[in-house]
């Protein structure tokens, strides 16, 4: 049931990106191009999405648990840290270069465009690189602690 629900939600999400035009990188870039022929559509998309999802989230908050799952998995971090800021900046640079973020990038795979496929492969590689770096960093930090302990 949970899988079917997720499938339907993904489908509705895809329809939303399609109808709003946000699946097209050109439409997204036109929003970001404040010094050109500015197209405010993306702001309307976000506003509408925020109002509707905000209503849904406040309903969800009142429930003890989700309808189809034992518990919800909400983000646990609450503080704004350096990783969040640097990551968002890198993300914004990449987004501005092409006009594709992860949702529309995946949806555009349906067109079988070689450039979209290349972008998605690079995007997945970027994510894998992050996971690899995280794992590596933790190992180094762990070894560092051990070495320090040995010195002491």
């Amino acid at each position: 049931m949970l899988t079917i629900a997720a499938f339907i939600c993904g489908f509705i999400f895809g329809l939303g990106l399609l109808i709003s035009g946000m699946v097209q990188p050109a439409k997204v870039l036109a929003f970001l191009d404040v010094f050109g022929a500015w197209d405010p559509s993306l702001a309307v998309v976000m506003l509408a999405a925020l109002v509707v999802s905000g209503l849904g989230f406040s309903l969800a908050k009142r429930r003890e648990r989700p309808i189809l799952a034992k518990q919800s998995t909400l983000p646990t971090k609450t503080t704004v840290d350096r990783q969040l800021m640097i990551g968002s900046m890198l993300f914004g640079i990449g987004w501005g270069l092409v006009g594709l973020c992860p949702g529309p990038a995946l949806e555009n795979l349906a067109t079988l465009s070689p450039r979209v496929i290349a972008f998605v492969i690079a995007m997945v590689a970027g994510m894998a690189l992050y996971d690899f770096w995280q794992k590596h960093r933790l190992t180094i930090r762990h070894k560092g602690t051990l070495a320090a302990a040995a010195d002491g």
Partner: protein, 141 residues
């Protein structure tokens, strides 16, 4: 503002909101595409089925829509392959480091009034705006 399409934007945005609201109400999950995709890459994760299902629905949407005559054209992409690859790497790495993307932070997080998401959204919007100003106006001459 000749390309402004407020009605389509409101309907489409509303549907994205419906998707995020239902995913939370039904499954208790955040509709953040980079998080959903990223979770598939971690080998230890056991909850892969719903992630694959969400992404399958996302990709199937334009294919079903094309059956009723609304074909999704190949998107306009930069001609340079190196720019394309660099942008993809930045989007993937940045979204994971920053803990989310346009959907997870920009919509779900802002709707939850999360300080982290509001900050992230402000930063990636600003960075993308600067990049577009540079590439479309300054460097393009």
């Amino acid at each position: 503002m000749s390309n402004f399409t407020p009605i389509a934007a409101a309907i489409g945005g509303g549907l994205i909101g419906v998707s995020a609201a239902f995913l939370m109400l039904l499954t208790g999950r955040i509709a953040g595409v980079s998080g959903i995709l990223g979770g598939l890459l971690s080998p230890g994760m056991s909850d892969k089925n719903w992630r694959i299902a969400f992404i399958a629905g996302l990709i199937l949407a334009p294919l079903i829509a094309s059956l009723i005559g609304s074909e999704l054209p190949s998107p306009k992409m930069p001609t340079s392959w190196s720019v394309l690859i660099l942008a993809g790497l930045l989007v993937g790495f940045g979204a994971r480091l920053g803990g989310g993307c346009t959907s997870g932070h920009g919509i779900c997080g802002v709707a939850r009034l999360s300080a982290r998401s509001i900050t992230a959204t402000a930063i990636f919007m600003a960075a993308a705006t600067v990049v577009v100003a540079l590439t479309h106006h300054v460097l393009a001459g």
